[in-house]
């Protein structure tokens, strides 16, 4: 079978604040034989604009889809939010002729037309569906068998089920399976499928902080040494904001939060430096010692 080939869609927040995710993802994917092509002239996926005007979100997303259609390639996103808006728009415009005509009316003004010829996938589905668990397992040269971690898949990679149609939103297992391939143990904890709260942090901090705190409590109670994420927003909530959550609740978690691609990269024999592990806010010193 030919190697999978995708346009990589980084979105806004990864280049803005989380290069560590992009660096580790590109390294790991290219070693696994996924060919990544650059997405020319892309714009914000549209997601944050849905609150203002739904048509604006759809048209911004569709502009990206049109660029990919012109390249003749499917899109792979690293972010749950980008996956949500691009995948939903792609499916809605493919299925609903009237909506497609309306959005194509806007796109005409920028010389584009949505045709519906490509697919959008999140990174974890490229890994689980295009490569498959066997192939990933065979790339693991340094099993992380001393490590116990927990996962946070986040919402938009599984919800709404109507548009995603993959995995089980009530008990997501794709990321768990992917974690187990690295040799690490993936622990269950209470309310694993719950939201991180980040989407509303710009309008209210108390609620998202309470939500994230509750998750951190449950993860700690399960005895996890690290949390594994696959979305930059969830990652920011648990890693970058962890010291602020600790201050707000007078708690101390010190829980390292790794991008899944960093965990897999370590198991594939990349060094922590190559995976930009030093960019994390909560330094994972203990676990790096453990797996050395």
């Amino acid at each position: 079978m030919a190697n999978p080939k995708y346009l990589i869609f980084t979105g806004c927040v990864i280049p803005y604040r989380l290069s560590s995710y992009e660096i580790s993802a590109r390294k790991v994917l290219s070693k696994l034989g996924v060919e990544l092509m650059e997405m020319p002239d892309f714009n914000c996926c549209g997601y944050p604009m849905d609150v203002i005007n739904h048509d604006l979100m759809l048209t911004l997303a569709a502009r990206n889809l049109c660029i990919a259609e012109k390249e003749g390639l499917n899109i792979m996103t690293l972010c749950n939010g980008c996956f949500c808006s691009l995948n939903e728009t792609n499916k809605a415009l493919k299925e609903d002729r009237k909506l497609r005509e309306k959005i194509n009316g806007y796109l005409k003004e920028v010389g584009m037309e949505f045709k519906g010829t490509i697919e959008v996938k999140h990174l974890i589905y490229v890994l689980s569906e295009d490569l498959g668990y066997e192939k990933i397992k065979s790339a693991v040269v340094k099993p992380l068998s001393k490590l116990k971690v927990a996962q946070h898949s986040g919402c938009h990679v599984v919800r709404p089920a109507k548009y995603v149609g993959r995995d089980d939103p009530e008990n997501p297992h794709t990321l768990k399976n992917l974690i187990r391939l690295t040799g690490a143990e993936c622990l269950d904890y209470v309310d694993e499928a719950e939201c991180c709260g980040n989407p509303i942090i710009g309008v209210n901090e108390e609620v998202p902080f309470s939500m994230a705190k509750e998750k951190l409590d449950h993860i700690r109670a399960a005895g996890a040494q690290a949390l594994i994420t696959i979305c930059p927003f969830c990652h920011i909530m648990f890693d970058l904001n962890q010291p602020r959550i600790e201050r707000a609740f007078n708690e101390k978690y010190g829980l390292p939060v790794l991008h899944y691609t960093q965990l897999l990269g370590l198991a594939m024999g990349f060094t922590p430096e190559e995976l930009a592990v030093n960019e994390l806010r909560v330094k994972p010193l203990e676990i790096l010692n453990l797996i050395r």
């Binding site: 290069s19 020319p40 892309f42 714009n43 005007n53 920028v110 989407p199 209210n204 108390e206 609620v207």
Partner: protein, 184 residues
């Protein structure tokens, strides 16, 4: 959150009920099923925001739409607390998409009441200026390349602005009054 702490809305007057509102809403994509809500409460029970907020209750929103309490809905700042996690959408036994209804109401609040939380105005402004919702400084673009990443493309800003114009969003954003923070 205990019942005593919950805010009880003031008595509803008959003239507040706008019987056409539910039909107006149910024409919007994502809000079609509003009439099917039978007030079981699953959405509120499973909503992570309702767990920590005294004001945000998705079931109440569904009922208020059915009753046609348009003014109350659009002027209630709690509307901005939904995190769009879609739990309610996946759990509703009647297929009502509360998250979609909340999005429709937010779009209406922007268009009819000209209100928007400041953060979204800032994100929109950045997006029109550089194609991304964050202002990514030149130094960070350079650092990317030094770290071995490909240079970040500069999106065609004429296209982006045009999209804001033709969808009517530019006008909306220019005239909104912004809300700083929403109490929970």
């Amino acid at each position: 959150m205990s019942q005593t702490q919950e805010q009880v809305p003031s008595v509803i007057k008959a003239e507040e009920l706008n019987s056409k509102f539910k039909y107006e809403i149910s024409k919007m994509p994502g809000a079609e099923k509003i009439m099917a809500c039978f007030q079981c409460g699953t959405c509120t029970a499973d909503c992570p925001i309702a767990r920590y907020s005294q004001f945000y209750r998705p079931r109440r929103i569904a009922r208020m739409v059915q009753l046609g309490l348009k003014e109350r809905l659009l002027s209630d700042e709690a509307l901005w607390l939904c995190s769009s996690c879609f739990t309610c959408v996946d759990h509703c036994p009647q297929g009502v998409e509360i998250a979609g209804i909340v999005r429709v109401l937010r779009n209406m609040a922007v268009a009819d009441k000209a209100v928007l939380p400041l953060v979204y105005k800032e994100l929109a402004t950045n997006l029109m200026k550089n194609g991304y919702v964050y202002e990514i400084p030149e130094s960070r673009r350079q650092k990317r390349v030094e770290m071995g990443l490909p240079p970040l493309p500069k999106p065609n800003l004429n296209d982006i602005l045009k999209i804001f114009e033709v969808t009517g969003s530019l006008k909306l954003i220019e005239k909104v009054k912004t809300i700083e923070k929403v109490r929970s």
